[in-house]
Symmetry: C2
């Protein structure tokens, strides 16, 4: 990718180096492919820099394990074994968050999503991770399962040097407003339109 040049230098009293260090709030939205894949790609890149990664999948049924989970957890294991890269935690809804519920015990999705956000909020306050992937988090925001103003306020004023990437369709305008980097993935053409279903290795 070409080296980017800022189009304007802001009058914020920061040096370029200081500005470069500002932690980012990123949003991947739109109806196209690649929102989560690009977010997990960022996590891979961040792992390589030794960052502490926390992934939180806010999907209704995350019982199936995607390839990125296996690979990122394997990278987290490598970190423990050899010191390469950084630590990785991967949490997902669907069968209960790993920190809150016993196997087999079920909660409704709204409650679970709210619990997930409460945990992320605690971790942000504690500066637990360097990069948070809040995968598909736009949906609990859209469905009223979490308070959007609380989310936006918390993310906008998170302490320290914590990067956050939120994925999912129809990102709330208030979230877009406080984000530093918003990318919309738009479907131009998709094989499902001609009747081809999802494929192992590509879709999961």
């Amino acid at each position: 990718m070409p080296q980017g040049q800022p189009v304007a230098v802001p009058d914020d009293g920061l040096t370029t180096a200081q500005r470069r260090q500002l932690p980012l709030l990123m949003v991947h939205t739109g109806d196209g492919k690649g929102k989560s894949t690009a977010a997990f790609g960022l996590a891979i890149r961040a792992w390589n820099q030794g960052w502490d990664i926390g992934v939180f999948q806010f999907v209704k049924s995350a019982k199936w394990r995607i390839g990125e989970q296996t690979v990122l957890e394997r990278l987290g294991e490598l970190h423990r074994e050899t010191g390469e890269g950084g630590p990785v935690e991967w949490h997902k809804m669907g069968a209960g968050w790993s920190w809150s519920r016993k196997a087999g015990e079920e909660a409704d999705h709204a409650t679970e999503a709210a619990e997930g956000w409460a945990e992320v909020k605690r971790r942000l306050a504690a500066e637990a991770h360097d990069l948070y992937v809040l995968d598909e988090f736009t949906y609990p925001m859209a469905w009223g399962w979490v308070d959007v103003d609380d989310v936006v306020e918390t993310l906008a004023h998170r302490p320290g040097r914590q990067y956050v990437v939120v994925t999912g369709r129809r990102a709330d305008p208030r979230l877009v407003d406080v984000a530093d980097l918003v990318t919309e993935m738009t479907k131009v053409k998709h094989q499902m339109d001609r009747g081809q279903k999802g494929q192992r290795g590509i879709e999961w």
Copy 2:
């Protein structure tokens, strides 16, 4: 991500299972972020399925190593050591392709791009890999360094079960036409607009 449902079932004489196995030609284009990151994320996912991965970076100056290269090469090493995942080859232009040129020897970019494409074409004919990432390949196509009709013809009629993802801005309409899945990444908002430069761990 929600499970996709095809909107129409084509009358192509294939069963759903057969159609599901059709190898995909994918294009990530547009001016936004995430084109390459999502492609490398696909490679991570494919590695986890045991696929043979070939990455070809058609960038003018690929002397710097991005995090994904380190991680994917590390995963390729894991494959050799433990049998996990699949094999990985990562090739890049800039200081000469690894298969063609001695260290320090330079070719002009147009020649190098054409050599890169000729090698990819040989590998496609030999069914060398399961997934090809042709990173930033839209640029040599746009600049006339490779013959677009040759590229389109070769990719459209590649033998066997080989997946290809092409990234870069301004994808040629002929490429889009033969692709199965085209995603446009659109910049909605970018921190560079407010004078923040690229960041380690995020941009590379």
